[in-house]
């Protein structure tokens, strides 16, 4: 019969259409929209019916490895001073594919010798391609990729050291597994160094 294929196809789209209501009924009592479980359900292998997310009211959670423009990790001491992990070794600037990292090295005013703390650290966020190579190859775990992707602005965006800095606690909150792994590796290294010193 001519037209059978079209009818069969329309049957598929009709099923999809009805499915959107059936799934709402199946989820009666539970929040299908605007709740983390609902979003997770819609993006799972069991997801049926309406698949989309009402951004910005609903946001799809990003996985741990998600990467966006980098930030600098700092540790705060008791009197609130920021101590950046960055030693201005320049590996991130050297590995950066679009060359969007500029580092001004610092030197001791008294002796004129370089000190391992950047005087300035800029990232041209307009040029950054979010590749994550800087974070991957940083030997001091000092530069990490962020999860905040809402950076739209009207002008050019250049992040300086102040804007880039984020506390360790923030890093540990967005990337718990990675942070735990790195902390363990650092502790092991410290222990080995201490053992050698003894």
């Amino acid at each position: 019969m001519y037209g059978k294929g079209i009818l069969k196809g329309l049957g598929v789209s009709a099923r999809h259409f009805i499915e959107t209501y059936l799934d709402d009924i199946r989820w009666l009592g539970r929040k299908r929209y605007g709740s983390p479980e609902g979003i997770a359900h819609r993006a799972s292998k069991k997801g049926r019916g309406i698949f989309t997310v009402q951004y910005p009211e609903e946001k799809v959670p990003v996985p741990e490895e998600f990467r966006f423009v980098p930030f600098l990790v700092y540790e705060s001491n008791s009197n609130g001073d920021k101590s950046y992990r960055c030693t201005s070794c320049g590996i991130c600037a050297k590995v950066c594919p679009p060359q969007c990292i500029w580092i001004v090295r610092n030197s001791d005013p008294a002796t004129g010798r370089p000190i391992p703390d950047p005087a300035e650290f800029y990232i041209d966020a307009d040029i950054c391609m979010n590749c994550g190579l800087c974070a991957e190859y940083c030997p001091f775990d000092a530069i990490k990729m962020d999860h905040n992707y809402e950076l739209a602005s009207y002008g050019r965006v250049i992040f300086d050291k102040e804007k880039l800095g984020k506390p360790v606690a923030y890093y540990e909150s967005i990337r718990p597994a990675n942070a735990a792994k790195e902390n363990a590796a650092r502790a092991a290294k410290e222990a080995a160094r201490a053992a050698r010193a003894d």
Partner: protein
């Protein structure tokens, strides 16, 4: 043909080319290089014999290399047999002058058409005998040939990255603060857009008129119509100039380059590792495959092996990419055919779930940047393997069957697809078509089988092939390929071993010994090749991409001749191009 007539093909190792072609051929003995150097004057004779006597019927890649210090240009050809097996590389050398002249291979391998135009455009190699040697990626009236080593781009700072202004100097500079029209921009002689002498389209229209077949010789009411560059069916900024007789297409020329950014020059400025994220941006729908091809090429140069686990992860990612890409390709084809958004959105759901996996593994949905030389960037995070399993064992097979039920028997699609845009098997080989386009024409050529790379020889899968070479069969081949990819992922998930995911320590500055390498993979769109030359420095000397969506367009014109103008959209949709790769 009786069995006695069928010649047993000579195996590659036994092939004694210098004996077969005395005096016109010498082995390439530079360290790290392979292949043969052919005398320029004997090129046509050699290529004819290669195709007709030795069975190398498929010209995969044509490109040029500028050896500025030696004062010569080299044209590199990669040919293969469509029956499978390793390929053959041959080169022609010519003194470096302006322009370099080399005979065109278009009469033997018509698939060289667009590639030779590209080499002319970017390297200034003039192919004598080419019927339509115009610029292709740059515009008519552009001064110079940008891939030559003495050509410098705007904002030029240094020959290679990392740039000294970033490290150790550390001065913040924005490109627009600098004068781009400083001392490295040039115009050709007589260039004056205001005086009306500048007619960039003249050559294009002349070429269109030339390629029409007018039997009567009478001037008839043929009109030239431009589709695009801003046309929703062209999947980006892509233009098609067609000459019409009524509604029938007489000749057609693709016009591209609107998204050209000289990817290859950027690649030559980058260090080897830096280039990995740039390959994502070629075919941005299947970045994992692009990573794969580039990693293979550089690993060949570095002569490093990849650990087992990394190989399995690579294969899984590449096959998931193929499924995601075909979702997009089929969806967009139906969008072009006037089915509006329903098929596309159903397929995008599945693609979305695959991209979720990429995001969890690589950190980004489309710009994955996941492969490293000698492995992958990181191991599969917790829970991802379960996600892949759930997708490939439960959801995707059902969903693909549903799409099959939904679309395959649709009468409207069959009417628009069957027998339209036909590419015969002979033509598909001649025009160097690759991927689903080639396999829908009845040539069961798949790099994963023809010359297995990575660990593909361990997996059980069938090469999808259909025989009519029309739009409908291209759709069916893509559907079959998705099913085969699921089979491969299922086997890979089962066989995934434990172990390291990278050879040696991760390095940000890899040492690549001098030499050349051509790494090719079966990308979702066809054979994706990376030709890389290293001189032992941190940056590659030459980096060339054999882009399937670019080369598949060679067959676009011939497929459309005789069709109606509305079919151009459908044929283009069935080729499945991505402009990021076409224009590079």
């Amino acid at each position: 043909m009786t069995e006695a007539d069928m010649k047993t093909p000579i195996p590659n190792e036994a092939l004694d080319l210098p004996a077969l072609f005395p005096g016109i051929l010498s082995a390439d003995t530079r360290p790290g290089y392979s292949g043969w150097i052919v005398e320029k004057d004997n090129l046509l004779e050699f290529a004819t014999a290669l195709r007709d006597e030795l069975g190398y019927d498929y010209l995969s890649s044509v490109t040029g290399v500028d050896y500025l210090p030696e004062g010569k240009m080299e044209i590199v050809y990669h040919v293969y047999k469509t029956t499978g097996g390793p390929g053959l590389v041959f080169k022609v050398q010519a003194p470096r002058q302006d322009p370099v002249e080399v005979p065109s291979l278009i009469s033997i391998y018509p698939g060289a058409e667009l590639q030779e135009r590209e080499a002319w455009d970017l390297l200034g190699i003039k192919f004598t005998g080419h019927p339509d040697l115009r610029r292709i990626l740059m515009w008519e009236g552009f001064a110079g040939h940008p891939l030559r080593k003495d050509w410098k781009e705007a904002y030029f700072e240094e020959e290679g990255k990392p740039l000294k202004s970033r490290w150790p100097e550390g001065k913040i500079v924005q490109a627009e603060d600098k004068n781009p029209f400083g001392d490295n921009i040039a115009y050709p002689d007589g260039f004056d857009p205001d005086k009306g002498k500048y007619e960039p389209e003249k050559a294009l229209y002349a070429a269109l008129r030339e390629s029409q077949q007018d039997e009567t010789g009478l001037p008839s009411d043929r009109i030239i119509v431009n589709m695009g560059p801003q046309h929703p069916s062209t999947h980006g900024v892509f233009r098609v100039a067609v000459m019409l007789d009524g509604e029938t297409i007489v000749s057609l020329k693709p016009v591209m380059g609107y998204l050209h950014r000289n990817h290859e020059k950027i690649g030559e400025r980058n260090t080897f590792l830096m280039n990995m994220p740039y390959t994502d941006r070629l075919d941005y729908l299947s970045s994992m495959s692009n990573n794969f091809g580039y990693a293979l090429a550089v690993e060949k140069l570095m002569q490093i092996a990849v650990p087992e686990r990394a190989e399995y992860i690579r294969v899984m990612m590449a096959e998931l990419t193929r499924i995601a890409n075909h979702c997009m390709a089929i969806g967009a084809l139906f969008n072009d055919l006037g089915f509006f958004f329903t098929p596309l959105l159903y397929l995008l759901e599945e693609r979305e779930l695959i991209l979720d996996i990429f995001e969890a593994v690589a950190g980004s949905r489309m710009m994955c940047n996941y492969f490293r030389f000698g492995g992958v960037a990181r191991d599969l995070p917790e829970g991802v393997l379960e996600k892949i399993k759930g997708l490939c064992f439960e959801r995707l097979p059902r969903r693909i069957d549903e799409i099959d039920r939904f679309l395959t028997e649709n009468e409207i699609f069959r009417a628009r697809g069957i027998g339209q845009g036909v590419l015969t098997a002979e033509d598909a080989i001649r025009y160097s078509a690759a991927g689903p386009l080639l396999r829908a024409s009845g040539i069961p050529y798949d790099v994963r089988r023809a010359e297995p790379y990575s660990i593909y020889e361990r997996f059980e899968f069938d090469v999808a092939v259909r025989y009519h070479g029309d739009i409908y069969d291209r759709y069916l081949v893509r559907l079959d390929e998705m099913r085969q990819s699921i089979r491969i992922v299922q086997q890979a998930v089962k066989g995934l071993p434990e172990g390291p995911i990278q050879t040696g320590k991760p390095q940000y500055q890899v040492r690549v010994p001098p030499g050349e390498a051509y790494g090719r993979v079966e990308g979702p769109k066809g054979e994706l090749g990376f030709y890389v030359i290293s001189t032992g420095k941190p940056n590659p000397w030459r980096y060339h991409v054999r882009a399937p969506s670019f080369i598949n367009l060679t067959a676009f014109g011939p497929m459309c001749v005789g069709q109606k103008v509305a079919d151009v959209v459908a044929v283009l949709g069935s080729i499945d191009i991505v402009l990021g790769e076409t224009d590079r």
